[in-house]
Subunit: 426 residues, 2 copies
Amino acid sequence: MENVMNSEVDIKALMKQIGKQAKAAAAKLALAPTAQKNDALINAAAEIRAQKKSIMTANNKDMAIAEGRGLTGAMLDRLKLDDARIEAIAKSIEDIAKLDDPIGDVIDTKERPNGLQISRVRVPLGVVGIIFESRPNVTADAGVLCLKSGNAAILRCGSESAHSSRAIHKCLVTGLKNAALPEASIQLIPTQDRAAVGELLGLSEYVDIIVPRGGKSLIERVQNDSRVPVMAHLDGICHIYIDEDADLEKATNITQNAKLRRTGICGAAETLLIDKKIAADYAPVILSRLQDEGCEIRADKMIKEIFPAAVEASEEDWTTEYLDAIISVRAVDGVQGAIDHITDFGSNHTDSIITESAEHAEKFLNEVDSAIVMHNASTQFADGGEFGMGAEIGISTGKMHARGPVGLAELTSYKYQVRGNGQVRP
Amino acid sequence: MENVMNSEVDIKALMKQIGKQAKAAAAKLALAPTAQKNDALINAAAEIRAQKKSIMTANNKDMAIAEGRGLTGAMLDRLKLDDARIEAIAKSIEDIAKLDDPIGDVIDTKERPNGLQISRVRVPLGVVGIIFESRPNVTADAGVLCLKSGNAAILRCGSESAHSSRAIHKCLVTGLKNAALPEASIQLIPTQDRAAVGELLGLSEYVDIIVPRGGKSLIERVQNDSRVPVMAHLDGICHIYIDEDADLEKATNITQNAKLRRTGICGAAETLLIDKKIAADYAPVILSRLQDEGCEIRADKMIKEIFPAAVEASEEDWTTEYLDAIISVRAVDGVQGAIDHITDFGSNHTDSIITESAEHAEKFLNEVDSAIVMHNASTQFADGGEFGMGAEIGISTGKMHARGPVGLAELTSYKYQVRGNGQVRP
């Protein structure tokens, strides 16, 4: 959309036009056969490979600007593309093409006593707005997940990745064109004008759902300001609870993995809860392992007495998502104490109990009110791919519509199809 | 809640307190066993029978005020209670007690290659806000559907039914108390202060979903102002399309039923579309039948020529929900013409095609973007009871969360329960 990039147009009118175009595209996408959608995806992947050079040129521009602005190493790394990363983008598009198309699936069918056949059939949501930061590959991932699930996408990338995202978006549009699908099926909105996000959040006439992906301040703003329903999670304050009946080896390995496998993801554990009854025996083993691998330990009084190398935790630590090699540790009164702590300080994302007691496990699984509750498993499994969904656009901690990983099926709605032979209601 | 009725308290603080109480009650309800919830319901039904006299006294007050305000006959009738209606309220509560409890249902389970067992289990949404008008029985229906599905309810009745609703609500609270469930599981908010509705719509910290039931202006206000997700439908502009391959007898009977069985419900047909090719043959038969039964016909030019007794329709007729014995009629170009008309003028509620052509039927069922699409059946079947759900709180035309009739299952969310034996993510 060349016109979309012209910053001189009135942003309100422009966003309305984008919304309108998306809605029209969505009506066509809803009826597009799977083969045609896959055709667009395979074409887009090929185009991304073919345009590797121009994508790299665009990315170099973004990198130069970012360096000039003094962005940190981690942020620069997220932004950077290279041959392998561009190939990964193309490959990921092809992987999504291979996933089953949820649209048209019959969820259930029943026959009523009067002979009416009532089926629920999956249909797309319509128009999905996605607001994301820095990683340019999200442009492809997000657009392509929407397309495969029959939804039109309106994408808003971070200004850091504007050139890279635009270059990738161009390839997606080529794929759409080659498959004779509307170009407005995936639109990228201007990054120059910060008001565009506000306008997008108000487009409830055209946009069915907003999915923000990024830091806490972005999500917070979207959740506060949106007139359109939002699927997202604000925090990932994930807990591991070591029960009195835990197997120490499992407890140690799972805690190490949940905290340190990757510290920057939302499913990383941030707080470790240990039953008081076994704290003196278990804490030294588990915490030494973490400390040996470079993790900072912030503990409550009881744990600090047992493991003096720990720093003393403040109240704030229980609600902090470190996304770093830091863990807060607290002794609690059994499984009920753990549930109470999670209820008070958790973020309804992912929490895991380590125990050999089936009774304690079931209590925890039933009573912790989080999108994902686990028994004897690492919280780092909180991921659409690990759940067998193939790909996800994010994880939702809200209870409306979808909870947990949001994959293709979660980007759909349903309609009732009722088949009769002349029935009238008495 | 006696304190709730004190109009001198600051309404903002009061509503916040109600929200907080509801959230605390919801946490307990989420874990309440089915038997305990049913116990509360059966107790409430018994109390309604026992309190028949005081409910009638309260209703007489409402009726006197309504008559004084000059309310119309239909509205007075909706407001009026008598022995039979009170018995029906008690019976309806008992019927909901008999329905299957959706909470705890395992929606699906899969085992991943690494041995993780991943199940989706139904949990309540949390706190449901319901805003409704005139009919006092909704107090019981709405509160009881929420309770059975493990949700706390915050009810706001119309000021006309304030005394009746309060008397019925008192019986529900007695039921809760007798079953040792929190009294705040079902709260009724004051009707004196009109600001209460606005406050409720802003309680996104405590309220998970708002369900408005009432006239267009109420729904419109709620949909525009709510910071909490809304499930509702604004209009029920339902269509019957008579295809060229329709069976004339079915077409006539279904149209008569869809329009006239009850004209005041949202599933009543408001517009009849007839394929041009058979209009001259079919329209006179179908329209005479309607006219004979007292229905006003508002037709486009072509139909008016065929059936001169019709009034000429204006553009406005295609978007008017008459809720009365009036029908708009238009000739269209085949099934595609019908789909186009419904896309332009429909309200995504319920639409039905009458045809013996499987091909035309499937095209209509797939391409009409409404919550409920039908083939050879009356639109008056658009009802949770008729769909086998036992009871409904309304019909949703939005695509988020639930679409079509909203029954017990639609008032739930889910959580993922993941069972492992020590798995860590590679």
